[in-house]
């Protein structure tokens, strides 16, 4: 009796958590393939036999949807790439080239994470206005890469420390210089770490709302997250909200994430937990 009971418990938990975590995501995706008049009907539609891509067509062909998608992609890809490289170089110095004050500098870098985003925004906006960086994807990338650097650097330090230093020493003894050692020895060994950090940072910046919300004022730099918010505010009367467009935007944002999670589950989880359990 007892053993049967303990065998069933995980499946009860499985079903419960699948419903709790899966249904909302499923529901958002479902809304995006419903025809506009079935969206938000009462009682709610729970499945459909006739999915349609109408709302996607409307989202990407009419209006600025395709530009938002482009901005989101450029923003997320470049922010994560830039942050991974900036963080790698800093982390290499912290992990391998012990210098005076390196501990304090690393701590400083980490402590900047505790500064609330909103507590830096007004001066940043004034600075960006002076530099002409408001409403540019480049300006946003700079901000997002910066936000990502401390955590990335901190995780990178532990990844670098896992590589035996003897490998680098051997390279130096064989006459390799610093750049060659980094390029030929360290970087190839760090590839899994690079991929993990790139994935995590891509997800974070793909999801970023606050900076584009504050710094973007046109389709030149607006991302999908801001586009979604705008659709939500477009008509404050509930019936007039473009539900079909909103669900299409939401689905366009979620689908790449689902693909990444499905393909790279292990790496993402490893990166997520690396900081807390190292």
């Amino acid at each position: 009796m007892r053993s049967r009971f303990t065998k069933i418990v995980p499946y009860i938990g499985l079903v419960a958590f699948l419903i709790i975590f899966g249904i909302p995501v499923y529901w958002i995706l479902l809304s995006s393939v419903l025809p506009p008049n079935q969206n938000l009907s009462s009682p709610p539609t729970l499945f459909t036999l006739h999915p349609t891509l109408q709302s996607f067509e409307r989202a990407l062909q009419q209006g600025p949807g395709i530009e938002y998608l482009r901005n989101s992609l450029i923003f997320a890809l470049s922010s994560s790439l830039a942050s991974v490289f900036l963080a790698f170089f800093a982390a290499y110095a912290f992990a391998r080239l012990k210098f005076r004050g390196s501990g304090a500098l690393m701590l400083l870098l980490l402590l900047t994470m505790a500064l609330p985003q909103i507590a830096t925004t007004i001066p940043l906006f004034q600075l960006y206005a002076k530099l002409g960086l408001v409403d540019t994807v480049g300006g946003l990338v700079l901000l997002e890469a910066s936000v990502l650097v401390p955590m990335t650097a901190w995780l990178m330090v532990s990844f670098i420390k896992q590589i035996p230093a003897d490998l680098e020493n051997a390279a130096y003894i064989d006459g390799a210089n610093f750049v060659q050692t980094i390029q030929l020895i360290v970087m190839p060994l760090m590839r899994p770490a690079f991929i993990t950090m790139f994935l995590l940072n891509f997800i974070t910046s793909w999801n970023e709302l606050f900076y584009p919300l504050v710094f973007s004022s046109s389709s030149a730099s607006r991302t999908l997250t801001v586009g979604l918010v705008q659709l939500n505010q477009e008509n404050s009367g509930a019936a007039a909200r473009p539900w079909d467009l909103m669900s299409a935007y939401a689905a366009i944002m979620i689908i790449p994430i689902i693909i990444l999670v499905a393909l790279m589950q292990r790496r993402i989880i490893a990166g997520l937990t690396a900081g807390a359990t190292k």
Binding site: P24, F89, A90, A114, I122, Y172, F178, L228, L272
Partner: protein, 332 residues
């Protein structure tokens, strides 16, 4: 002068000045040499300082420009009457703070910010532990569960916030409809208290997976022998987990809890998307209030004061938890 300390100090002075002299007369201590070393044509393992600084500089510089400098500027702005309508802001002392803290709306937002952060964190830790235990059990479809559990964390917070707005909404939302079948009637987003419950639920939904995976990593560090030894001693599932496993992962969960409180004090997306601080100001939080003051009210001084209060809140939590963070200093 026979005091050994002063002798040591004198020696240090001598060696320091010798180092300076050496540095200036060192033929290789030149821009050309430095550049050569960056490019990698010269390698002297003993002199790594400059290289280290060059490697660290970009990361540090970008943080200085986009985080430390603006933060200090915000701190200064909070003591001025800066706004879109003032040409030359002047120092007005603590007036912004007095105004802000005397305002019942801010007090309410402050209280809900703290409630939101702490309630969310407690629920996340409890739920995360339960979920981690499940993920640690061996059963079929476990990897499917892992992937599905990862989704709430991975999808944009603004998407889940807007999604929950509709899930909780009357008439067409799934949750009220389901509860209606059970004859339970709750006005989720129009009653102040239930709106607060709803945003906390949505936030917990989003954050539980992260905690669960971290705790899971902790659980996987518990050696199998412990379970077996406990089993041999006749301990049941409940005893093993409450008296052996829980105490083992407790320090990890407390550390995570402190992190989550700090992060959730800065919550923006969920509130912004789900309720916009409403109904009335029931779910208003400090970051959103500061955002509204800055970019809708255009009162920079007051918004900065709010931001600084937010920062002080984070600082207070951080200082209270300092003992827990000693771990990091050791790691560095």
């Amino acid at each position: 002068m026979s005091d050994p300390n002063s002798v040591a100090a004198a020696r240090m002075r001598v060696s320091a000045s010798a180092a300076v002299t050496e540095a200036f007369h060192e033929p290789r201590f030149s821009l050309r040499w430095t550049i050569a070393r960056i490019l990698g044509t010269v390698w002297t393992p003993k002199k790594l300082g400059i290289l280290a600084i060059i490697l660290v500089a970009p990361a540090l510089l970008i943080r200085m420009i986009t985080s430390i400098y603006p933060f200090l500027a915000t701190a200064w702005t909070s003591f001025t009457d800066s706004s879109a309508y003032v040409q030359n802001p002047v120092f007005i002392g603590l007036k912004n703070y007095e105004q802000v803290l005397g305002n019942p709306a801010t007090q309410k937002a402050l209280i809900f910010t703290i409630t939101f952060a702490i309630a969310s964190t407690i629920l996340e830790i409890v739920g995360g532990f339960a979920l981690a235990l499940l993920l640690n059990a061996k059963f079929r479809l476990r990897s499917l569960l892992r992937a599905v559990v990862l989704l709430p964390w991975a999808i944009p917070a603004i998407v889940s916030a807007l999604g929950f707005r509709f899930i909780f909404s009357q008439g067409s939302g799934i949750l009220p409809t389901m509860l209606e079948y059970m004859n339970i009637h709750i006005d989720w987003l129009t009653s102040p208290l239930w709106a607060q419950v709803a945003v906390i639920m949505a936030n917990v939904w989003r954050s539980v997976p992260f905690i669960a995976f971290v705790v899971l990593a902790g659980l996987q560090g518990v050696p199998d022998e412990l379970y077996e030894a406990a089993k041999v001693d006749g301990a049941g599932w409940w005893r093993v987990h409450s008296q052996i496993v829980l105490p083992l992962v407790m320090p990890l969960m407390i550390t995570m809890g402190v992190f989550m409180i700090i992060f959730q004090i800065g919550t923006f997306d969920t509130i912004y998307g789900m309720t916009g601080g409403g109904p009335g100001s029931a779910t208003q939080v400090l970051p959103y209030l500061a955002y509204q003051d800055a970019f809708i009210g255009l009162n920079y001084g007051r918004s900065s004061a709010l931001s600084m209060i937010l920062f002080l809140l984070v600082l207070a939590v951080g200082v209270c938890a300092l003992g827990r963070f000693r771990k990091f200093e050791v790691e560095l």
